[in-house]
Amino acid sequence: MKIKVIAFGVAREIFGSGTIETELYTDASVGTLRNLLEQKYPRLGQLASYMVAVNSEYAEPHVVLAANDEVAVIPPVSGG
């Protein structure tokens, strides 16, 4: 399945775009997506940390993805 991933802040700059598409097998997990993104964009793995959000909720690596999920890469937040 194709998963659209949106990215913010430094992650947007690392991806070179606010949205990328990536191909994942059906029922792939957030953890799988993380590994795949870190392989494709090594600078992502060098951040202090980052989270993945699925449909606007922080998602642990075990969470399973579906084709229409809104998936976002959340680098360390720094609001306020």
């Binding site: 802040g9 430094v10 060098q46 951040l47 202090a48 909720e57 937040v77 609001g79 306020g80």
Partner: protein
């Protein structure tokens, strides 16, 4: 009552204070973030704030709900800016009204501390010789 706003326009501090006023309130604590002219001895020209808007709002709503669950509060307001902010401008205002000041102070502190940990908003510091996403790198 909770009022949450993410806005590219200047935050009106007076509006924020008035919005949480209440005849049942004995104390209001207001935290106002301001853009500092330096960070680690380096001169800051401006900040640029970016937000994952939909999620930022839902995370701010969660924080407010959790503050209401922890303390006896009357009203909570969170306004956060996006876009380019010059030195002295206000990225965030948090206003909390309660019958007693202990709850207002503690909840206000909790809200800003938690906002800085969980709300998907990012700031880039722009210096004379470059720029950096705050907290991005170890």
């Amino acid at each position: 009552m909770t009022e949450i706003k993410l806005t590219p326009l200047p935050i009106d501090v007076t509006y924020c204070v008035n919005a949480v006023m209440s005849p049942a309130a004995g104390g209001i604590d207001v935290f106002i973030g301001t853009v500092r002219d330096q960070t680690k001895q380096k001169k800051v020209l401006r900040l640029e704030f970016e937000a994952y808007e939909k999620m930022a709002i839902s995370e701010m709503e969660k924080i407010a709900a959790s503050a209401f669950a922890k303390w006896p509060l009357l009203k909570v307001l969170l306004h956060h800016r996006t876009g380019v902010l010059e030195v002295g401008e206000v990225p965030v205002v948090i206003a909390v009204a309660a019958a007693h000041r202990d709850a207002a102070f503690e909840a206000c502190r909790y809200i800003i501390d938690t906002l800085k940990q969980t709300v998907p908003i990012w700031k880039k510091e722009v210096f004379e010789d470059g720029e950096v996403w705050v907290a991005a790198h170890p």
